[in-house]
């Protein structure tokens, strides 16, 4: 099956600045791919390339198997059949809600234009505001008009540029759910490419997530892949707080205060960073001398649903470091308690120490 949208080895630069390098991904029809990364990582450039608003210096862009940007030529945005949803909605301020939606339907029979506009405005619940102008709507309503306008022409690909960042947090969850359901309910197989800097949003929305940094895609996968099998420390830290130790490989294993971890294919003597998610460490109370305690609790803070516990390792472990552990709900432990640390090896990751920027890991 051909992908709804495919990037093949895209590279782009602005003057001296290399904005994108070797960016490749595919989105299947009906799927959502989230491009996630810090600001300036090139994710919006990738989106603009998909829309045809930028022309990449290298690589192919294909929509439903048709090359829209590549060595053979370039299809301008108005001929691509993509829908674009902006952070600032970009509604036409001088047109009513209805005429905003009608704008992209030019060329269809008039009856079809009307029925589609009606369908989409009803779908987003704004049919009764059809004669209103954008400035008369709230932010959430404007966002829904923008969504109706983008989807009414039945684009092959919907592009979303930080679509929820202008909404306040309560509204954001609501609109996010609405948008997700609308895209998933479409029977046209519209695929979506969404750009965001918010990991939670990406985990929520994306069938696939591509994490970007400095113009490259570092890792692509499902939410679970990226959370549980990060390819490098950056990916691991992007989705939540971690404890970090330095160590080295000895006899195929890496020592930690919580015990040894298998080092995988890393050879003995390799210097490594060990990253353990804060929820990857469990605590066990000490009874007598068994199990032997390996940390002492220094502070406890309640953060609503979770408790954050800071610990100091005991000298017997051979490590002198502080650790942070998140546990669900309240905790019975008290400051000064000696505890045994239990490692969840699924949430602990070993990476060789990187000398240069390039990553080779796991």
């Amino acid at each position: 099956m051909t992908a709804a949208l495919a990037f093949v080895d895209i590279a782009h630069r602005f003057g001296e600045l290399q904005a994108l390098q070797q960016v490749s991904f595919q989105i299947a029809a009906g799927d959502i791919l989230c491009l996630l990364g810090p600001s300036g990582c090139g994710k919006t450039t990738a989106l603009r390339i998909a829309a045809g608003l930028e022309r990449p210096h290298h690589g192919l862009v294909q929509i439903n198997g048709r090359t829209v940007s590549g060595n053979d030529g370039f299809v301008v945005p108005e001929a691509r059949g993509v829908g674009l949803l902006f952070q600032d909605y970009a509604l036409f301020p001088h047109l009513t809600v209805e005429r905003n939606v009608l704008f992209g339907l030019k060329g269809l029979p008039a009856a079809e234009q009307r029925s589609r506009t009606r369908y989409w405005l009803q779908r987003v619940g704004l049919w009764d505001r059809q004669k209103a102008y954008p400035h008369m709507l709230s932010g959430g309503e404007q966002q829904r008009v923008a969504l109706a306008r983008a989807l009414a022409p039945q684009p092959a690909v919907l592009l979303l540029d930080e679509p929820f960042s202008n909404l306040d947090s309560q509204l954001r969850y609501q609109v996010r759910e609405d948008v997700l359901r609308t895209i998933k309910d479409m029977d046209t197989g519209t695929a979506a490419l969404m750009v965001t800097h918010d990991p939670e949003e990406a985990l929520y929305m994306g069938d696939q997530i591509a994490l970007m940094d400095k113009g490259r895609i570092i890792q692509t996968g499902t939410a679970n892949d990226l959370y549980c099998q990060p390819l490098n420390p950056l990916v691991a830290t992007f989705f939540g707080s971690v404890n970090r130790f330095s160590s080295d490989v000895q006899a195929g294993h890496v020592a930690t205060p919580m015990g040894a971890l298998p080092a995988g294919h890393l050879t003995d003597g390799t210097e490594v960073d060990v990253l353990v998610r804060t929820e990857g460490i469990g605590l066990a109370a000490q009874e007598g001398n068994d199990p032997a305690p390996n940390a002492i609790i220094s502070t406890i803070r309640r953060l609503g649903q979770i408790s954050r516990i800071d610990l100091q390792t005991l000298p017997e472990t051979g490590f002198d470091c502080s650790l942070t552990v998140h546990v669900l709900g309240p905790t019975a432990y008290q400051v000064g308690d000696h505890v045994k640390l239990i490692l969840d090896s699924n949430l602990a990751f070993v990476f060789p120490v990187q000398v240069s920027g390039d990553s080779q890991s796991d």
Partner: protein
Amino acid sequence: MSDAVSVPQTLTEQPADKPSRAGSFALPAGFGFSAVIVLLVITPLLAVLSYIGSPTDGLWSHLVETRLGEYLSNSLILLVGVSSLTLVFGTGCAWLVTMYQFPGRTWLEWLLVLPLAMPTYVLAYTYTDFLQFTGPMQTLLRGLTGWGWQEYWFPNIRSPGGAAFVLAAALYPYVYVAARAAFLAQSVCALEVSRTLGCTQRSMFWRVGLPLARPAIVAGTLFVLMESLADFGAVSYFEVNTFTTGIYRTWYAYGNPAAAAQLASVLLLFVYSLLLLERWSEGQRRFNQTSSRYRPMPRFALSKHWARAATGFCLLPLTAGFILPATILGSMVWHAQDVLSLSRLAQLTINTTLLGLITCAIILTIGLIAVYSMRRDQHPLGRVLMRLALLGYATPGVVIAVGLLIVLGAVDRGLNYALSQTVGGWQPGLILSGTLVAVVYGCSVRFFAVAYSPLEAGFKKIRPNVEDAARTLGAKPPRIFRAIHLPLLKGSLLSAALLVFLDVMKELPATMILRPFNFDTLAVEAYQLATTERLDGAAGPALIIVLAGLLPVIMLCRQLARSRPGSGHDESE
């Protein structure tokens, strides 16, 4: 997959290997277009400057010995007089109407810009009529005192001081508008904090208000000074010799282009220095409000005594710049014995309108294309060039006119020579000089900036995302222009057209020097009648100019009334 996506299955539009932006020495379209505009604008300026080293048959040294000192001292008197008057009244009125509550404040706030509708030369005619020996003022004085001819001293308006007074009365609104905008833009919080830190109401002006607004006020004042140096109508009517009248005289009376151009270069030196200062001062406007909260400015109440004083203070410049001259003008027209015939007035109005419309059409078309290509291509060099193309507005009309005469004369000579070589000795004489082409060219150079700035501002308000959204919705550039840009730019286009039209209508020296034989505009006719002591006759065309000029000023008033950030309406009245 959807079958309704109407996408043509072709790959076209652009050659594949052309990078979209950087990495190529090929200059984008926007650059080329702005280069052409710049060339058209600066050719007359270059023509003027090209004479810097040319011999003048001794006229230049003669000028230096006899006239230059007078030009300089008169210009200096103008600069000092105009700047102090406009600073005091422009800034003072702005502070009073923004900060205090006093009788008539609501009206004065916008009435104070009305003098913008008064060309300086009209003020000059009316004040001369009012203050001359046979005028109402002196007649009244003699009636009251019984004095006779030469038995008393009376200030002569036709003097450098009088010229400074007239220019200040006409131009102070520029400072007023700039200062008012700056005072309004300052956060109430900053002012309130200053009160808690021990500032009294009055010291607040000196310690917070004025320092914050200083860059805007300085820029406004420098603009006024540029206009003063460029003034031709008032000073020439008053026979106060400055550079502009000197250039005119040197060109026409002495027939010496080189000396005229050299005088013009000296004037340009002064004007562009002021322009640079103004740009620099605008650039200094770096204070950003740290507080983004705006509340309606709470106005302080004044005691009865002080409130009257405030009303009186604000009425002074308004009376001098509008109420008095407008009344005099009206009465001149009413009592005139030597009036222009209606058909003559109609002819003048038609000529003026024709010139205005043609110039408007040309400037708006070029301006729109320029703004459009600037936006699309965003070439940094193009931007710099565009700044150069806006120089015309800072350049005195006399200088543009002289520069154009030089250029068009050369083109005519070249054409004549070429024709005489090819078409059997045929020499058609003047081809471009002294035609409508010359006047329109001159006015377009002078007023391009007037249209470009509102258009640019209007375009800036259209977010690029809106265009991108339209494109992804299938709109090609022509449709985007028609369906998105034009409707959103309607207001800017209209105000640009109005401003250009009225500036062309008021423009005196360039029109007078460049116009075709017997093509008189309202401004030219008024000037000619006034200089031949037929003030009655001048009043008619002058009144038409003032009435038409009120239109954009009223538009400006409405903008001013709404310009408070963060509050659509001013409820505190």
